[in-house]
Amino acid sequence: MLNALLDNVPLMIMLVGMLVGIASTLVGTFLVLRGSSMLSDAIGHSIVFGIVIVWLLTHQQSGPLQIIGAALTGILTVFLTELLVNTQRVKKDAAIGLVFPVLFSIGVLLLNLYASDVHIDTHTVLLGEIGFVWLDTVDVGGYRVPQSLLSVGAMTLVNAAFVLLFYKELKLATFDAALAKALGFAPGILFYALLLLTSGTAVAAFDAVGAVLFVAFVIVPPAAAYLLTDRLWLMFVYGMAISVLSSVSGYYLAIAWNVSIGGMMAVMTGVFLFVAFLAGPHYGLIAQRMRRLGQRRFNESRTLAVHLYNHEGSPEQATENVVRALQEHLLWDAAKAHRVTRRSCAQGHIVQDGERLHLTSLGRALAQEILEPGSRGARH
């Protein structure tokens, strides 16, 4: 039964993709919220150096020791970046952009030098080979489990345990670092731990998705989730859901078009982000536009109500409270005047009697709310 599942190549590929996405979302959510997204880019690139070094030293590509060893380069990047920033000679973004290319360059040169010794070529470094994860398996209790599945699965568990254990500390440190520090929660150490896990995830995911596509898995699902909700735990749920959907849809699209599976999965995270950007319930572009439109229409109705209210019962009522007068006094063109009048009629703010417009009690209340706040219905 389990063997049948493990021999199911598409399932294994999608599962690795999902787990990469889930593990990355767990750490990426905090990176996005802290405004440190680009650190994942730096970490993703500079672990190449660590992976090559670890390979040259131990001649093994996976295993807890290898993951930790290579992940240390990620931490080294962050440490060197902060060191540069602390000299106050370089701004943070420039420091990031200075450090990781150096480590990445050294990694690539080492690959050049020891090309015959190293299991990866420069091409895989960037792109990964998620389509071949099922080739490299290890024996676990009689089952042949893909190596990537094992390491990415382990990182998923570690990340999940970390987030669950330190949920409230992480939340506090992310949203109010000063308070966290005052309460003695050491937000700095917590952040470094988070980055160590990010590096570990990058190393575990490296064979599957490479250095650059990893960035998509870390940043894009949490960013999309951030556009959908204000609640932290919901961000995790949405981010993981997007990761899972991206893996599945990316896999099938990649098979259909015969293109890179990892690349297509990453593109799909972008597609979901774009959908969230457009159609998110509160922060989406469409929702924003709708809200603005609704606000504008409401303001037009109120303007009309106030205009009618001002001239109600006065001698010039017959000339002022007609549709034509709106064009002169409110500077509305004819089409707009008719549109607003029709809408106000439909909403029951006014009634039209030939040329003349009369406020209903609802419309009068609307005008009084603006003109005489606090004395609703005083003129009755």
Binding site: V90, G97, L109, V215, A216, L227, G263, L273, Y283
Partner: protein, 390 residues
Amino acid sequence: MTFVDWLQDYTLQNVVAGAALLGLISGVLGSFAVLRKQSLLGDTLSHAALPGICLGFIISGGRHFGSLLAGALVSGALAALTMLLLTRNSRLKTDAALGITLSTFFALGVVLLTYIQGTGNAAQGGLDSFLFGQAAATLRSDLWVMAGITAVALALVGALWKEFKLIAFDPGYAASLGLPVAWLEALLTVMIALAVVVGLQMVGVVLMAAMVIAPAVAARQWCNRLETMVALAAAIGIGGGIGGALLSALARGLATGPLIILSVSVVVLVSLLFAPGRGFVWELIRLWRGRRRLRYQQVLTTLYRLAVHHEDPAYRSEQGMVDSYHGVGSRKALHLLERRGMVERHAARDGEPSAAAQWVLTRAGIAEAERILSALGEDGENGDAERAAG
């Protein structure tokens, strides 16, 4: 192969010329990017060039340098637009927008790259070389294209120098003068995309980030004027480019791109450490000197106060007393004071409980201590000292 032969090598000449052009354009444009705190823009735009290169290939049906570059420029511009859209119209911050654009555009490029490979086009060889750059494959005709792009970018910078300078330092003021700030910023962004396009062949999309940032950061350490900085950044870029290219020619088999990046980064490191004024080493020395001076002044005034308190200018302060005020570290300061003739060291007299050294202020020492204290505004004690000395 003699040195002259080596210099006349066709490939080497091309590589060196290309690297110099890249250094020139990225040094100049990088200066503006770094000053405007948009250092990572180059990173994002270079990764985002990949889908454009692939589309250029698909549309033109082959590896035509010009169409690939046009594609790279178009997708760079689209990426910049996407970033603008995300930061202006959503709650995402710049860093997230940079990362999203970088990774999704790159992923799209990977998808297109595998699509091209899947179609089995014979000319596709060398397309992945844009990932890491393949300087050795540079042709003379490529160089002309790169030189043309560089010339256009430099001409634009020259023509709009005043405007660019203003938006680099004070965009708010520029806007209040009625300058089209948004357009100028867009122009600078597009020009960084131009620099990226020049760098694709030489260092590849991944390492372009450093090429934009490093020369500018290095140049910034040496000067405080934009004119000098831009010129210096261009020089550093050219120097690093040529250095990397020559290194890779010497050590055959090593990729040119990483070597160019490393040589420019070495210049950055040296500048950060040793540039006059801003160099970190000088600051450490200043800090150490300041600490030493403070220690020296503390110890001297302590001896002085002890003398005042005991109404004896030749008061012998025991080593242990000074230590209890300032810790064991005071010994170094005491030796320095002794060398400068501010204190004298006396051996303990017979029959005293401690055999430790004892310190007595000299006349010069008293004068110096009074100078220090009066500089601190503690004149009140001057009279006491005079009396004690008398």
